[in-house]
């Protein structure tokens, strides 16, 4: 019995198309000869499309993307300070719009220090944790505004919205993730200052935690969490946190684990009511676009997350194994984007 998976591919801007090309190469290689076929549709979206047409993401785009089984995204965003993009916000209008519209309430960001990868930390030790970042609430909801805008009397507010419904479902996912790993969950928030949102996160974690007696739970303020990420990252197994804290912690996690070039992520709707989206954590890096200098590893590891999400656990493990093997041999001359993709494809059959 063969299975066809429809995949919406959004290469995006900057280095996005280059890294996605390698990710697709690996996806095809690892599934060729199996009974799963991937049927790809490419969507030209991002700053480039906006400059051409004035559209960021139309209702038709969204509907078309939503009709797929899953999404692979490279990176979006134009050159910082490009005056033609002033006023547009590709990140909000495209990336965040997809996450919110498709109810990607779990933003899953695993961090490992792969053998052979130099960390900026002198003594990182073994590092293998997952950040479960909430994806549809918090200060990301776009619930802000300003008055007397542009004057010396401007007031600009941003509202972080947190619901029991939204917190419960992501915390539950985090507990399940912890249960399948080393059974330790760290809640990160700032309960001593953000007392209302903090109480909600704390209460829900306590309540859901009662259903997972085999998972130990601790709590860190977000400021303290950054300290431990550089002094003792090995203490973490699963972290759960809000949208903004998760954004900050995962870039830091990427940095300590040898660079954002290796950090993959999944924007997941665990209920399966809409397609989940997989993307490298890095941005579009317009300064090196088209030079074959970008590292496609994060995009390729995003394919591993995608395969895992689709239940293709063997293929997912094969990609991770091939990446791990390739990474272990990275000392030496820098390779072109396509060379890294080719090497990982070659490592698949070892």
């Amino acid at each position: 019995m063969s299975r066809t998976v429809t995949l919406a591919v959004i290469p995006g801007d900057g280095i996005g198309p280059e890294v996605v090309a390698e990710a697709v190469k690996v996806l095809h290689a690892v599934t060729s000869g199996t009974d799963v076929a991937f049927d790809l549709t490419t969507f030209s979206l991002g700053a480039g499309r906006y400059l051409d047409t004035g559209d960021v993401l139309t209702d038709e785009d969204l509907a078309a993307i939503a009709s797929h089984d899953a999404i692979l995204l490279g990176a979006v965003g134009g050159a910082p300070g490009d005056p033609r993009l002033a006023g547009a916000n590709i990140e909000r209008g495209l990336l965040l719009k997809l996450r919110f519209s498709l109810d990607h309430y779990v933003n899953l960001r695993p961090t490992r220090i792969y053998p052979g990868v130099p960390s900026p930390l002198a003594d990182a030790g073994e590092v293998d944790f997952v950040v479960v970042r909430e994806g549809t609430e918090g200060p990301y909801v776009g619930n802000g505004g300003s008055i007397r805008t542009g004057t010396p009397h401007e007031v600009a507010n941003e509202v972080s919205v947190n619901t029991a419904y939204g917190v419960e479902r992501v915390v539950r996912y985090a507990f399940r993730t912890a249960q399948s790993r080393r059974r330790h969950l760290t809640l990160v928030h700032k309960t001593n200052v953000l007392t209302f949102a903090g109480s909600l996160w704390k209460r829900i974690t306590d309540e859901v935690g009662a259903e997972f007696p085999d998972v130990t739970v601790d709590y860190l303020h977000v400021d303290a969490a950054t300290i431990f990420l550089v002094t003792n990252p090995g203490r973490f197994d699963v972290l759960v946190t809000d949208n903004l804290f998760g954004d900050i912690l995962t870039d830091l996690a990427g940095a300590i684990s040898g660079g954002i070039g290796l950090a993959a992520s999944g924007n997941i709707n665990p209920d399966g009511t809409s397609p989940s989206m997989f993307e490298p954590v890095h941005g579009s890096a317009p300064d090196i676009a088209g030079t074959q200098k970008a590292d496609p590893t994060a995009a390729i590891l995003s394919v591993a997350l995608l395969l895992d999400h689709l239940g293709l656990t063997e293929a997912s493990a094969a990609v991770t194994r091939a990446v791990t093997a390739d990474i272990a041999n990275r000392a030496g001359h820098p390779r072109r984007t396509a060379e890294i993709g080719d090497a990982i494809v070659a490592a698949l059959s070892l």
Copy 2:
């Protein structure tokens, strides 16, 4: 002509009294024989006082503290999870109340890697920057609330409030600080997501920046800033950011520069309309309270910031020199809190 400075001293909880004792020792030593005398009044405030009396900070306390020239604070906060403190929030009711009531709009947090101090970074290079954190706005204003609290339908909001008035004054201070240093300012925010607050911060930085043509300015999203703090902290001179991002970045900065045991801070009202407050960035660490294991260096460096703020620049430099000399010789056996204070006093006269 002699001068008397009235100093309100708030030793606080946990290790606070121990580190403050050493800070006061150094303060007296460096000013003895000069024409400046410090007149100290100690205020017993914190979790201990709350448990004894039920009061966190009364109007009378606040008025008495506000009548001083400056404030030295150790650390406040009880043991995490102490059920007797549930419902109380010593941090908000005391520390943040002081910062807000006394209009400490500049939260000044210098970071240096002192020669001889091991950093968790393998290759930190030279690090010497100052974070100018806004102290009276942002998500710290306490403008939050919840409905259907405690139920599955709870909604908990937190509002970040940002005003042109509040942003302008702290950004201006940051530009002045940059002008007295290496003339480089980095604005940190999250303008692509927090578009209203972000636009305000960006606009004000551009406007004030026009008055400081000799200061170069760049911008980083907060997530990217954490990456550079571990991969290239030497790039920073002065950073300016909001209350919450500043909280997160300065703990991380403390960690990369060899530990929060060295991180000093000033809560400053540059207009002089109320006393400024100096405190180590670290917390009360109740687990090691009373054991003479705490490092008083951050409290002592806070005295250097205090002296500088009072215009006693020579005494301030002498404290910094003595600390630097002491730190350079720290390899070897751990010393007791009082031993470190004594050693720094001894180094004052070298």
